[in-house]
Structure formats: structure tokens, C-alpha cells
Symmetry: C2
Subunit: 235 residues, 2 copies
DNA sequence: CTTTTCACTTGACACTGTCAAGACGATTGC
DNA sequence: GCAATCGTCTTGACAGTGTCAAGTGAAAAG
């Protein structure tokens, strides 16, 4: 494909100067944020970048590859943000449940901060992970980050869950669902921005309360495992 | 638009005989399920229904209206299913938390049973609720159903939540996120169907355990409300 | 200075949603 | 009974889309 480094000498190639590749990506994101996914088309992106309709094909084999790159970047940013929340000094003082809730909230905040990325990331009809190995790799890394954070949190004081795999899925689902509803669901439409943020905080707080109550109840009656003790991990 | 009733006498109109409208809807759903959202086009739908590309416009003003109808039907089916789960005799014997978990599971089961409907329902770029009053009405009804079920459940024995509105959003988010991940997310790809179902049951069970632990902890230490007592409902 | 390579451009094709107009049997008013 | 109307589609066209194939002109390499 296309070399992205500089030439043998320190000079920049023409492509690096015009920086069309990055401009195309930026134009795509802006287009989605301004006009919505429906209006996203390679030709409009090219138009916005000030080139002809075929220019994007020099950098991306097809439309899916371009979106795949955004998807990949999105997962990278998401992972970053979750790790930041998990390791945050401010959150370090919290209980295990509090830290988990903070990570969940960071997930939703990511969706709000990068709506175009988020809208593409979980849409297999736009970006099939089988066709975009980069996106798949970053997606897996994000998943493993969630898994690791949950695992550490469980070790640090959440012994009540019947299966850690289920708790991972539960945390991801809750965060993901809340992000979806906040971004494109009924919550986005009617409420003003501040009310939505308050709602997210309330949900986070509720979840945290539930987890903490679970911890407390186990401390009173230890060994209360619900059913079977995690038969198999779902990687 | 088009009258859908029968004629003044009991006879059927031509349209009712050919039943093209229903065939178009069915063809759309089949197309999504077989080929994915990307391949969905009015022309292909018309082709599948055995008519020319313009025939759908006799029944639907545009593509969005057709999808909006599917969306509306989806919300109706979802509401039905949740109410069934909430009122199920088998679930009636459960605790409040158990009933709530059963409703959540019914949400995910709906998504698996009607994947084409579900994929359309939460995609504003396909169906903008402002353009489809029917879809909006059924969507609101579904939301209110969730709210009512949560409310009843809280009254029946979940006093620990800091805000009922937050619990409603939490329940919806968890179910919705899980449905998304199961249908189109990382969970769908690698695991076989039975493992996915087991995972859903595990998550449901975990949530139920968390809620029940919360109930228990409150029963030991009543009046333990986290922060402020529900400032405003988000309708 | 010539040749190659890069970074695009031009042109075409099949496909899409949608507008305008037409066709044609069934129903209806008289 | 028969012309007029109506309902239910069809035909044709247009602008927009993603993508293939080929061309172009300036920079880089020799």
C-alpha cells in the first residue's frame, strides 16, 4: 500500500505535505458529526477535503477501510480513556465498586466525546472486523482492558459475583447500553445536555451502590456463591 | 394515503388480495436477516416481492416510512414480550429482583428473535422518530412499560435505589447493551449460540444477585439512601 | 536530460432513492 | 351498459453513490 514514513533523507514527501490521508479521516468524522451517518459518503468526504471523488482510493482500498481506520482509532481512544479512569489517582481512593463505576462512566464519556467514532465502532454493516484486522485488534484490546479492570476490581473486593465472565459482560453491557441510549436513544432527544449528564452520573452511582451492597452482604454471609463457580471463560 | 380497510361491502380489494404491502415488509425483514443492513434497498425489496422498483412508493412515501413501520412493529413486539415476562405466572413466584431480571432477559430474547427489527429500532439515521410518529409512539410506550415494571418492582421490594429514574435507565441500558453486544458485538462473533445464551443467563443471574443483595443490605440497615432522593423524573 | 514513480484526476459503470408520467383493469356514477 | 374515475401498479428519467480502468503532470531518481 502506501508508505507513510518520510523519505530516506529528512525531507517530506508530497503526500506528507498535503496530508490528504489525515484530512480525509478528519473530514469523515466531521461529516458524521454534522450531518449524521446517513449523509456519509466517500464522495462528500473527498469534496470536503478538496479533492476528486477517486482520491481517497489512493489511501484506502475501499470505504470500509476508511471507516475501519476510524473504528480502530476509536477503540484505541476508548481503551486509553478506560485505563486512565482505572488508574486515576482520584479514583484510586475509591472502593473497588467505585473504581468500576468510574470506568463505566468513562466509557459513556468517550461515546459523548467521540460520537462519530462510537457510532461506527459497533456497526458490523459498516466495519466488518473480519475485513479490518486493525480495528479487530484494537477492539479485542479494549475488551481485554475491560476484562482486566473487572478482574482486578473483583480481586480488590467484589467477591459476590457468581461468574467473573458474566460480570465483565454485565459491566460492558451496562456502559455500552447507556452510551447508546444517551447518544442515539430516547435519552438524547428530550433531555438537555446537563440533564443527560446527571442521569449518567445517577446510573453510575446506582450501579456502584448495588455493587457495594453486594460486597457488604457477602461480608456478613461469606461463601455465598450463587451457582456454579465460573465453568469457562469467554475470551 | 392508502386505505387499508376492506370495501363498504365485505369483499376484498385488489390490494388486499395481492397483499403487497405486507409482502414488502416481510421481504425487507428477510433481506436484513439474510444479507445484512448494508444490502437493504427498496429496489431489492421490490425485486423480492416480485414487483417493479416503484411499487413500494404506492404504500410508503419513502424508504424511511417503510423502515419506520418495521420499527413500530418492533417496539410493539418488544412491549408485548416485556409485559408477558413481567406478568408471567412462572415469574410471579420470583422475588422482585428476579422478576426484573426476567424482564431484562426478555428484552435480549426479543433482540435475538427479531434481529432485523431490533437493528432498525435504534438507528436514527434510518428511522428518525420525528418523521415516524407511529414508531415514536410505540417507542415511548415501550419506555413507559419499562418504567412501570421497574416502578412496580421497586414498590414490591427494592428500596435501596437512590433514584427510580436512574434504576429505569440502568435496567434499560443493561438490557439494551447486552442485546447489542449479543447481536452485533464481540459476543456474537466468537461464541456459539448456546454459549451466548448461557452468557445472557449468567449476566441476568448476576444482576439479579446484585439487586437481591441490595435488598438484603437495606433490610439490615434501612433508610440507607445514597444521596439526594430523586430530584426530577426524566420522562 | 530522460525515465520512473507518486499522487492524484478523468471517465465510466452499475447501483441506489425518488420524481413524473403512463397504463390498465376494476369500480362507480349515471 | 358504458364512459369516467380510481386504485395499483409500470416505465422512464435523474442525481447521487461506491468502485474499476485508464490517464496526467509534476517531482524524484538515474
Amino acid at each position: 500500500m502506501i508508505k507513510t514514513g518520510s523519505t530516506s533523507r529528512g525531507r517530506k514527501t508530497r503526500a506528507e505535505v498535503s496530508d490528504l490521508r489525515a484530512r480525509l479521516l478528519r473530514a469523515s468524522i466531521e461529516l458524521i458529526e454534522e450531518e449524521g451517518l446517513q449523509k456519509l459518503s466517500l464522495r462528500e468526504v473527498a469534496r470536503r477535503a478538496g479533492v476528486t471523488h477517486q482520491a481517497p482510493y489512493h489511501y484506502f482500498p475501499d470505504r470500509e477501510a476508511l471507516l475501519g481506520e476510524i473504528c480502530e482509532e476509536g477503540f484505541r481512544l476508548l481503551t486509553e480513556r478506560m485505563e486512565l479512569a482505572a488508574g486515576d489517582q482520584h479514583n484510586a481512593k475509591l472502593s473497588a465498586a467505585g473504581r468500576l463505576a468510574a470506568v463505566g462512566q468513562s466509557y459513556v464519556e468517550f461515546a459523548c466525546a467521540y460520537p462519530a467514532h462510537f457510532r461506527i465502532m459497533f456497526r458490523p454493516e459498516l466495519v466488518d472486523h473480519d475485513h479490518c484486522p486493525g480495528a479487530k485488534a484494537e477492539g479485542d484490546r479494549a475488551f481485554q482492558t475491560v476484562a482486566r479492570i473487572v478482574h482486578e476490581t473483583v480481586k480488590a473486593g467484589l467477591p459476590a459475583v457468581p461468574s467473573e465472565a458474566a460480570l465483565i459482560t454485565l459491566c460492558w453491557s451496562l456502559s455500552h447500553g447507556l452510551a447508546c441510549l444517551v447518544l442515539d436513544g430516547p435519552l438524547a432527544k428530550k433531555l438537555p445536555q446537563t440533564a443527560v449528564e446527571q442521569q449518567v452520573r445517577d446510573v453510575t452511582k446506582t450501579m456502584r451502590a448495588l455493587l457495594e451492597a453486594s460486597v457488604a452482604s457477602v461480608q456478613k454471609a461469606p461463601k455465598r456463591v450463587l451457582k456454579k463457580p465460573t465453568p469457562k471463560r469467554a475470551t
